[in-house]
C-alpha cells in the first residue's frame, strides 16, 4: 500500500487512543467535580461544626471546620461523618446528635474515651456552643448553626 495511506491509518490509530484518553480525563474530571460540589454542599448546609483547635502532624489542620449533620458519627474509620485521624481514636468513637433543638454527644464505647471540656464522657451529655471535645490528641470546639428553642 502507498505510504500516504499508511500514514493516515497510523494517524487514525493514534487519534483513537488519544480520544480514549481525552474521554477518560473528562470522565475523571466530572467525577472529581461532583465529589467537590458534594463536600461543599455538605459544608454549607451543616447544622453545626467542630472546629479543630489542637492537632498533630497527620491530623486535620488547626481552624478546619468539620461539618455536622443532625446525626453525625465520629471516628477513625473513613465511613464516619467526621473522620478523626488519630491512633487513639476508635474506628467508631462517638456520636453527636441534634434532637428537638438541642445537641447531645455520647461515647460509642471507644477504647480511649472522649473528653468533654476536660472530663471523660460517661453517659449522653448536652453539647453547648463553645464546648471542647477531645479525642486522642485532637481537640475541637463545637459551634452550632441552629438557634436554640426555635427548632
Amino acid at each position: 500500500m502507498e505510504i500516504p495511506f499508511q500514514l493516515a491509518l497510523w494517524g487514525v490509530r493514534v487519534a483513537f487512543l488519544l480520544v480514549l484518553y481525552l474521554f477518560l480525563i473528562r470522565a475523571f474530571a466530572s467525577l472529581s467535580r461532583s465529589l467537590r460540589i458534594e463536600s461543599e454542599l455538605a459544608a454549607r448546609n451543616a447544622l453545626g461544626y467542630l472546629i479543630v483547635q489542637r492537632t498533630h502532624a497527620q491530623g486535620p489542620r488547626v481552624g478546619e471546620r468539620l461539618p455536622l449533620r443532625a446525626l453525625s458519627s465520629i471516628g477513625r474509620d473513613a465511613a464516619n461523618d467526621v473522620v478523626v485521624n488519630d491512633e487513639a481514636a476508635s474506628a467508631r468513637h462517638a456520636l453527636v446528635e441534634l434532637t428537638e433543638g438541642s445537641w447531645w454527644i455520647q461515647d460509642e464505647g471507644s477504647t480511649n474515651g472522649t473528653l468533654l471540656n476536660g472530663s471523660r464522657l460517661a453517659r449522653r451529655e448536652r453539647l453547648r456552643d463553645g464546648d471542647v471535645v477531645e479525642i486522642g490528641r485532637i481537640g475541637m470546639r463545637f459551634e452550632s448553626q441552629v438557634r436554640y428553642g426555635s427548632a
Binding site: F5, A8, L9, W10, V12, R13, A15, F16, L17, V19, L20, Y21, L22, F23, L24, R26, A27, F28, S30, L31, S34, L35, E38, L41
Partner: protein, 427 residues
C-alpha cells in the same frame, strides 16, 4: 432539564466509535461494506436518542454512567467488527438497540422502586427459575461444554445467568434490609467461630448449595463465582462483619476443591489454568489460553495498532478474550485506559450507593456496582491467567446480547437510584 455534561461526554463516544471503525476498516479494506458505515451511525443515533429521552422526561440522575457504558459498548462494537465473523456485527448492533429499549423501560416502568423490594420473594423465585432453566429438556442448550443457554429454535437464545445478575441483588437488598436490625446483635460463638443469626446463616448455606449446584450441573464456573461473590459482598455491605464473608469464601474454596476431585470438567479448568503450556495441553484444552497469553505478551507499551495485530488466532476471541485482543492492539496504555473506565464506572456506582436515602437503595446500588466490577475482574483475571478462565463476558465489550441487555438494565437502575437521591435531597 438540560444534561450538558452527558452531552459533552457523548461527543467523545461518537468520536471513539468513528475512529475505531476507521482504523479497523482501514487495516482490512476488503471489509469495506455499507454495514461498517451504517453501524457506527446507528450506534451514535441510539446514544443521542437515549440522551434526548432522559432530557425530555426531566430525569435528574447521574450524567456520567450512561456515557461510560456507551463508550465501552462503542469499543465493543469496534472489536466485534475487528474480530468476529461479519454477521456478528449486525447482531451486536441489534442487541444494542434491544439494550437501549430495556434501558428506557427500566427508567419508565416501575413508578416506584419499592415495587422491587415489596415482591422480593417473587424476584427470588424468578431468579431461581432463570438459573435452573438451562437444565430443562426442550429449551436448555449445552454450548462449549457449559449448559447455560436457553433457546427457541435458531432464532433466539440467551444466557439466563446474565439476568440473574440483576435479579439477585434486588432480592438480597430487600432481604438484608428486612433483617438489618440483627446487625447490632453479636453472633453466638461455638468456640472461636462466630455463628451468624439464622436469617443470615440460612441464606449463606443455601447460596453455597446453589453455587455448587450451578458448578456441577451447569458446568459454569463463572456464574458460580459471580452469584456467590455478589451474595458475600452484599452480606458484608449490610452487616459490616467480614467474618461472615470470609467464612463464605472458605466454604467456596472447600467446595471447589472437592468438586475438582470429583468432577472432570471442573478439574480440567484448574489443570489448564495451572499449566496451559504443558505438552498435552498446548494444542488442546490450553490452546485458547496460550494464544491469549501470546496476544497479551505481544502487546508492549502501545500495542500493534488497532486492526494490525493477530488476535484472530485466539478461538472465540470476540466473547472470551476481548480483553486480550484489545490489549494486543492498543497496548498497555490502552488496557490501562480501559480498566480506568471500568474503575470510574464502579466508583460512581458506589458513590450513588453511599448517598442513597434508604438502606434498600443503598444495598441495591452497591450490589449492582459490585456485580459489574467483579465480573470484569473475573474475566480480565482469567485472560491474564491470574485465576482459572471462565466463560463470563467482559461487561459491555464482549459480543453477546444477554450480557449487553442486562448491563444496560443495571445502568438504568443505578441512574434511577441517583435520580431518587437528587429528588429527595432537592439538589
Amino acid at each position: 432539564m438540560f444534561r450538558g455534561t452527558e452531552l459533552g461526554h457523548l461527543v467523545f463516544v461518537a468520536l471513539l466509535v468513528g475512529l475505531g471503525f476507521a482504523a479497523v476498516v482501514g487495516s482490512e479494506l476488503e471489509q469495506l461494506t455499507p454495514l461498517v458505515l451504517v453501524v457506527p451511525a446507528a450506534f451514535v443515533g441510539i446514544a443521542v436518542a437515549l440522551h434526548l429521552f432522559l432530557v425530555i422526561t426531566g430525569f435528574r440522575g447521574d450524567q456520567l454512567l450512561l456515557p461510560l457504558a456507551l463508550a465501552l459498548t462503542a469499543i465493543g462494537l469496534v472489536f466485534v467488527e475487528r474480530l468476529g465473523p461479519p454477521h456478528l456485527l449486525l447482531q451486536q448492533v441489534t442487541w444494542a438497540l434491544v439494550a437501549a429499549g430495556a434501558f428506557v423501560a427500566t427508567i419508565l416502568l416501575p413508578r416506584d422502586l419499592s415495587v422491587l423490594s415489596r415482591y422480593k420473594y417473587t424476584w427470588a423465585i424468578a431468579g431461581l427459575a432463570l438459573l435452573a432453566s438451562p437444565l430443562l429438556p426442550v429449551i436448555g442448550r449445552e454450548v462449549n461444554g457449559a449448559r447455560i443457554w436457553v433457546g427457541f429454535g435458531d432464532l433466539f437464545s440467551f444466557q439466563p445467568a446474565e439476568a440473574v445478575k440483576v435479579v439477585l441483588p434486588i432480592f438480597f437488598a430487600a432481604y438484608l434490609e428486612e433483617h438489618r436490625e440483627l446487625i447490632a446483635t453479636p453472633p453466638r460463638r461455638v468456640g472461636p467461630i462466630p455463628i451468624p443469626p439464622l436469617p443470615y446463616l440460612a441464606p449463606i448455606v443455601l447460596m453455597w448449595a446453589l453455587a455448587m449446584g450451578v458448578m456441577i450441573l451447569q458446568k459454569d464456573l463463572g456464574a458460580t463465582l459471580i452469584f456467590f461473590g455478589i451474595f458475600l459482598a452484599m452480606l458484608y455491605l449490610a452487616t459490616g462483619r467480614a467474618a461472615y464473608s470470609i467464612a463464605g469464601v472458605l466454604m467456596l474454596v472447600a467446595g471447589g476443591y472437592a468438586a475438582s476431585r470429583l468432577f472432570d470438567h471442573v478439574n480440567a479448568r484448574i489443570v489448564v489454568w495451572l499449566a496451559p503450556f504443558a505438552d498435552e495441553l498446548r494444542f488442546g484444552a490450553g490452546y485458547q489460553l496460550v494464544q491469549g497469553l501470546f496476544a497479551l505478551g505481544n502487546a508492549g507499551l502501545l500495542g500493534a495498532g488497532l486492526g494490525n495485530g493477530m488476535p484472530e488466532r485466539i478461538p472465540v476471541v470476540w466473547s472470551d478474550f476481548v480483553f486480550a485482543a484489545f490489549t494486543e492492539e492498543v497496548g498497555f496504555v490502552g488496557a490501562l485506559a480501559l480498566l480506568a473506565l471500568y474503575l470510574i464506572f464502579v466508583f460512581r456506582g458506589m458513590t450513588i450507593a453511599l448517598r442513597a436515602p434508604t438502606p434498600f437503595l443503598q444495598l441495591l446500588a452497591g450490589g449492582l456496582s459490585f456485580a459489574l466490577a467483579f465480573q470484569t475482574l473475573v474475566i480480565v483475571g482469567g485472560n491474564a491467567k491470574l485465576i482459572p478462565l471462565t466463560g463470563v463476558t467482559l461487561p459491555f465489550l464482549s459480543y453477546g446480547g444477554s450480557s449487553l441487555v442486562t448491563n444496560f438494565v443495571i445502568v438504568a437502575l443505578l441512574l434511577r437510584v441517583s435520580d431518587i437521591t437528587m429528588r429527595v435531597r432537592g439538589g
